[in-house]
Amino acid sequence: MELQRVVKFEAERDPEFVRWITQTVGGERIRHCLQCGLCSGSCPLSLYMDYTPRRLMHLSREGFKEEVLSSYTIWLCTCCYACMVECPKKINITHMMYALKTRAIREHFYPKRFAIPVLAREFSRMIRGSGRITESRLVMRVFFKTAAWRLLGFSKLGLQLMRTGRMRLGREKVEHRADIVTLLNAVDEMKKELAR
């Protein structure tokens, strides 16, 4: 066990982050948080989190960006909305988690080869490419990019799926694939516009 000196200086806080989170979709009401912990209590995954949702709320509104964006919490969130429905202060916790994920991905705030963000990335690529998801192919890609060896563990399942005709290798796609690209690009243009 190694000793570690932990003290937080105000200089380490990022006021910009607070401004952003309190203005971003989902984060608007975060300041109202009473720190009652019901979100953590009702969350099926809080047991695995380094920071419970409650703590994440506090860290976010106090502007400890590092801690928040590099925490596992946002990736463990399965977006089941339990916290959001229960929250006595009607804070859109789940939506805020999305916001934090997007920002964490944008600013590369996650562990290398960490499957969840990779999945998100691959997922988006596949859609950009074909407009639809072919689960089997997606799973393959993610595994190859994260932990190929784990694929072996799934061989049996794969066979089962194959046998029951639930694993299609043929690629699902939309007719007007160009549309999808145009659509997504349009969004990006507009975003840039708004940023300006």
């Binding site: 932990v6 003290v7 937080k8 200086f9 105000e10 109202h32 720190q35 506090h58 106090e62 202060k89």
Partner: protein
């Protein structure tokens, strides 16, 4: 058993013993059945019964019926403390047509079931006590309560919001009120504030009208800069001596024009202005603050040259001219008043922040107490409402430290109740006026009360920082470049789970509430009790919150415990109602526990005369015996114990009765 001293044989006693279960309060620890059976076997006991709640109407009915049906002439009730229900059961006796003093209560709840655990021992003790009561009650004599008239006027001590409110209530009911305030003006702590939580309405706007109303009310005699010097008498008939401190101004002549203040040879104030906690300076002659009531100036003899050298040009006197209101030779004077009841509303004092050395109060210039900030924020304050640092600059970061001198076994154990809310108020005002980042350091956020939690929610939304953790220290020693030239607050952010160092420009210490420094003297003066902390003790925490154990003396406001304005006002209203009820009753009945001399036994040694604190005993030359004036006698019984010839007796506490009780307690147990 007849009594040698009282002579003659009393009618044979027929005693009824009534044992109360008080639900399980008593029955849970005392074997009430065994106790009742035991009582039934005692001599002269005609009836012994147990019942779930004796004080309930059916319970009392048991007693009433037995008195009628079985012709009982003595009653013993074994239940709670006589101080709780003696009046109740005496009432029952009266209704049943026998003298209420033929009752003896046995305290088997407070003194037995609640303090002992072994059923066997508790039951034994209860038996002993009942046995003693049975033996004692046989000697009880019918007694008559004394009626005394009640003086309808009321004394209110303390001119804070509680005193003001109580005084106005009573005065409006047409009774006369004497309001005595120690400071040169009324208004109390509320006068310091700019805004009040949670509505943020302006304190002055709601307080000033009440203050002026007091000043001008024809039923109120307002004495400021005065103190109660002595109190004697009893409920309905208190004699109070009031000391007037010299303000060197003739009240009735001063019209408050303050031309004298203008004219003072000191063109600038030089002396710490008490009302602004020294944040501003005043002259030797001054008005406490603009809205002061009464609008009378006063002179500070410590500061005024005339008092030091007698060589002052006395420009003030010139300025006052024809009015001749200034009198350098004024001496302290006294007034004697008679009132029927007294309301004590002497308020609180705030915790001395310098007692907590780690917060650097008095060491760092920019560490203030919450009251000082109240003045800084106040439009009529030293900075005209500007929140500024000692160097005049605007604070960019402000830390508000909660629970200073509260919830702390090293200082005061109690929660001061108002700090969370006023800290929120200050946080809001500071943010509003300076736009500074405000940090609240709290242990728990306590916001019970109408609109309080909502106010907290509002503050959360305003982006005030809330760090849950008691501040460990305030220091000016930077360990990080960003901390240079700042005051650094160190505390664990228990919600984030790490220690934080927060550099601020200004620290506000939310000081807790304490009993007044002289609370203990005051309580002696009025013969009431204090809790261990020094708050005045109410007769019952729930059912008699403004009464004391001294009849006719009531308490209101923060002198009874930390309270915010609404609570203080509510209590003041309650106290006023109690006082008015007393006054409207016209007369009050006093316990007949007075002493009386048995002439034939009295040797006329006069020992008792010297010992009686109320000079109620006089010497009758004709008979050469002492005589007790029953109106003056308060029934302490000291004279009885002192009399060498055992020729003084005290009703209800006759030697014989006590001997019997003692013997009963110990009888071959």
């Amino acid at each position: 058993m007849p009594d040698a001293r009282n002579g003659g044989s009393a009618p044979a006693a027929k005693i009824g013993v009534y044992v109360c279960h008080c639900g399980t309060n008593i029955a849970g620890t005392v074997d009430v059945r065994a106790l009742t059976e035991y009582a039934a076997g005692l001599p002269d006991v005609a009836v012994a019964r147990e019942y779930r709640y004796m004080c309930s109407d059916p319970g009392q009915e048991l007693i009433r019926r037995d008195i009628k049906d079985c012709g009982l002439n003595r009653i013993v009730v074994a239940s709670c403390s006589p101080l709780m229900h003696e009046p109740t059961f005496r009432g029952a006796l009266i209704q049943a047509g026998i003298n209420p003093f033929l009752l003896q209560m046995v305290n088997i709840r407070e003194h037995v079931s609640w303090v002992h655990t072994s059923k066997q021992e508790a039951t034994t003790k209860a038996k002993d006590l009942v046995r003693a009561a049975v033996r004692r009650v046989r000697l009880h004599q019918p007694l008559e309560k004394r009626r005394v008239e009640i003086n309808p006027s009321v004394l209110v001590v303390g001119g804070g919001i509680a005193g003001i409110h109580a005084a106005l209530n009573i005065a409006n009911s047409g009774k006369h009120v004497y309001l005595v305030e120690r400071q040169p003006t009324i208004g109390g702590h509320m006068a310091y504030f700019d805004k009040t939580f949670p509505t943020l309405d302006c304190a002055a706007c709601i307080l000033t009208p009440k203050m002026t109303a007091v000043g001008s009310h024809r039923n109120i005699t307002l004495w400021t800069y005065a103190e109660v010097a002595a109190v004697e008498g009893y409920v309905g008939n208190y004699k109070v001596k009031v000391r007037h401190k010299p303000r060197y101004i003739l009240d009735d002549l001063c019209i408050g024009c303050q031309e004298c203040v203008e004219a003072c040879i000191y063109k600038e104030g030089r002396w710490a202005d008490e009302f602004n906690f020294g944040l501003s300076k005043r002259k030797p002659i001054y008005l406490p603050f603009p809205q002061a009531v009464p609008q009378k100036v006063l002179i500070d003899p410590e500061a005024c040259i005339e008092f030091k050298s007698h060589k002052c040009k006395k420009t003030c006197v010139e300025a006052c001219g024809e009015r001749k209101a200034i009198d350098f030779n004024q001496r302290e004077s006294f007034d004697e008043i008679e009132v029927g009841s007294i309301i004590i509303a002497t308020g609180f004092k705030t915790f001395d922040a310098s007692r907590n050395v780690y917060y650097g109060y008095g060491k760092y210039k920019n560490v203030y107490t919450s009251l000082e900030i109240e003045r800084l924020i106040n439009a009529s304050g030293p900075t005209g409402g500007e929140i500024v640092l000692s160097d005049g600059g605007k604070p960019k970061m402000v830390g508000i430290v909660h629970c200073v001198g509260s919830r702390d076994h090293n200082t005061n154990r109690w929660c001061s109740k108002v700090c969370c809310m006023y800290s929120l108020k200050l946080a809001h005002l500071i943010r509003e006026r300076t736009g500074a980042e405000v940090y609240n350091f709290y242990i728990d956020m306590r916001t019970p009360g109408k609109g309080y939690e909502e106010f907290y929610d509002r503050l959360l939304d305003e982006g005030v920082h809330f760090v849950r953790g008691r501040v460990a220290e305030v220091t000016d020693w930077p360990v990080h470049p960003s901390e240079k030239g700042k005051l650094i607050i160190r505390a664990e952010d228990t919600l984030a789970g790490f220690v934080r160092r927060i550099p601020v420009d200004m620290v506000v210490l939310s000081v807790g509430l304490e009993p007044q420094a002289d609370a203990r003297d005051v309580r002696r003066l009025f013969n009431i009790s204090c809790s261990e902390e020094g708050w005045f003790l109410e007769r019952h925490p729930k059912l008699a919150p403004v009464s004391t154990f001294t009849d006719g003396v009531f308490i209101a406001g923060a002198c009874q415990g930390p309270k915010d304005i609404p609570d203080s006002v509510a209590q003041a209203g309650a106290a006023a109602a109690e006082a008015m009820a007393l006054a409207d009753a016209k007369y009050v009945e006093l316990e007949p526990y007075t002493a009386h001399v048995i002439d034939e036994a009295c040797s006329g040694c006069k020992t008792c005369l010297t010992i009686c604190p109320y000079t109620a005993i006089s010497f009758v030359e004709e008979t050469k015996t002492a005589r007790v004036n029953e109106v003056l006698c308060k029934g302490c019984g000291t004279c009885v114990a002192t009399c060498p010839s055992a020729s003084i007796e005290q009703n209800m506490f006759e030697d014989q009765e006590i001997f019997e009780e003692v013997e009963g307690l110990l009888a071959y147990a």
